[in-house]
């Protein structure tokens, strides 16, 4: 019988965290913020591989880090939501529950496997205004170690988060219009260390959860629409 080498768990956790942080910091950031109509998600992404996606009627996904990992997590979120909605009802699919599912999967991988996921995720949710008691709009962040946190107003994932968070802290106010929120999102992304100055519409991926729509509230904005809003 062979015994594995002893590794100090504290050291191992630190090493894994440092590894994951480095991987995430290499990529570009995503800003998610509440505006008067719901939630807007803004990503610097000149490619056609999406970082933002629809999960369910009132739920959207944003992921940074290693594409193959966060995209598989996005698809798992869609699978979870569609099964949950089929098993119970469409109203029973909730953002908080999805964030916890992600927390479990990502956290387990961080603890049990040699290589942790190099990802950070935001689960965004808007309430249904037709209900007498709608859920509040919410942003849940899932860290690379599975930590789930609840954010009001805005949430940033990716590299140089502190920098961007400070900019939002001093410039965000509740009740922004979509155009104002999008402009603030773009200005914030430009402040990232690896960010591009004067980000054009072509380099932005923008999606919204628009409370006023009925049924599926997720919408991917076209480049023309982004240009029009930024003008």
């Amino acid at each position: 019988m062979s015994f594995p080498f002893y590794v100090n768990p504290e050291q191992m956790t630190q090493d894994k965290a440092e590894f994951a942080r480095k991987g995430i910091a290499r990529g570009r950031s995503i800003v998610t913020l509440l505006y008067e109509g719901g939630v807007v998600l803004v990503a610097e992404n000149p490619t056609r591989l999406n970082k933002l996606g629809e999960v369910y009627d009132r739920i959207a996904f944003a992921g940074v880090g290693k594409f193959s990992e966060f995209d598989r997590l996005r698809k798992m979120g869609v699978q979870w939501a569609d099964v949950e909605g089929y098993r119970f009802s469409r109203d029973d699919v909730r953002g908080k529950a999805l964030a916890n599912v992600y927390g479990q999967i990502v956290g387990e991988e961080f603890t049990r496997s040699m290589k942790p996921f190099e990802v950070e995720i935001v689960v965004a949710e808007v309430g249904d205004p037709d209900m007498a008691h709608p859920e509040p709009d919410g942003l849940f962040k899932v860290g690379f170690d599975g930590t789930v946190s609840d954010h009001e107003d805005f949430c940033v994932i990716g590299g140089s988060v502190d920098n961007l968070q400070n900019h939002l802290q001093s410039n965000y106010r509740p009740g922004l219009s979509l155009a104002e929120a999008l402009r603030l999102g773009r200005d914030t992304l430009q402040r990232a260390e690896n960010g591009t100055p004067d980000l054009p519409a072509e380099s932005l991926e923008v999606c919204t959860l628009d409370r006023s729509r009925s049924g599926r509230r997720f919408e991917r904005l076209s480049k023309d629409r982004i240009r029009e809003l930024l003008a």
Partner: protein, 264 residues
């Protein structure tokens, strides 16, 4: 929820079968059921046709169980997404479940892949569901749907009919299924005109449903007492739109007016 070895395809039905078999509608179980089934809701006339702007699907609202009315305002025409419609005929329970599953299937594929299925892909998806239902069909729970939609890639409306074995046939003009379909088809055979306007298509549909309800006891007509009208939905480049009850009532009165015997 397994990251590494969970199901990675785009089909919701397969996802249920592989990851959640207890939730998957397992029609094969029906093949072993002994004894006779209780009377389930049956009897219908639904029609689908192509017209200038796309495709139209219409259906009556009556569900019968044996010689009794089961429901007077059942929905037989379903929007399965923004560009496709399904009409059901046959056993109501499995048929409605099939329409629900089909809608989820389309949405699931669109979210996973980031692109919706092509209309032909949607028609094939339904064929697989119908084929899976064959063991239940052998027990008397037949589901024979119609499927129609707007093919955005080709810019045309298209219509398909199905048979219980999963056979799938595209129609150039129109088709009808259900207990009153023979009368609706005879009616459409005379009134159908390719490239019709929306108003002409609506008139053809109401005439055909009126003919079917006149001859078939399982098909409901216009119920003016309760304000229940047939369902008529149009699928075009702009999405799906329903004819209002007022609009249908007006066309229905025109149809009756043209048929009224002198002096009555």
């Amino acid at each position: 929820m397994r990251f590494w070895d969970g199901y990675k395809g785009t089909s919701f039905a397969e996802l249920l079968q592989t990851e959640h078999p207890q939730l998957a509608p397992d029609f094969s179980r029906w093949a072993h059921v002994q004894g006779s089934l209780p009377e389930s809701a049956h009897g219908t006339t639904v029609i689908a046709l192509r017209y200038a702007d796309g495709a139209m699907v219409a259906g009556d609202r009556l569900a019968t169980a044996g010689h009794q009315v089961a429901m007077r305002d059942i929905e037989k025409v379903y929007a399965t997404d923004d560009y496709s419609l399904m009409a059901i005929a046959g056993a109501a329970g499995p048929a409605i479940e099939m329409a629900r599953l089909l809608g989820i299937q389309f949405e699931h594929h669109e979210k996973i892949e980031g692109e919706p299925l092509e209309l032909e892909g949607k028609a094939n998806t339904l064929a697989q569901l119908v084929k899976q239902n064959l063991p239940a069909a052998m027990q008397g729970l037949v589901v024979v749907p119609l499927f129609a939609g707007y093919d955005r890639r080709r810019g045309i409306g298209r219509v398909w009919k199905y048979e219980a074995t999963g056979g799938r046939y595209e129609e150039d003009e129109f088709d009808s299924v259900g207990s009153g379909s023979i009368f609706a088809r005879e009616s459409l055979k005379k009134s159908y005109k390719a490239g019709s306007s929306r108003a002409e298509a609506l008139r053809m549909a109401i005439e055909a449903l009126t003919d079917a309800a006149d001859e078939d006891r399982g098909t409901g007509g216009v119920d003016e007492l309760r304000g229940i009208y047939p369902r008529v939905k149009f699928c075009t480049a702009g999405g799906i739109e329903s004819a209002s009850d007022e609009e249908i009532a007006q066309v229905y009165r025109d149809v009756l007016g043209a048929r009224r015997r002198p002096g009555s």
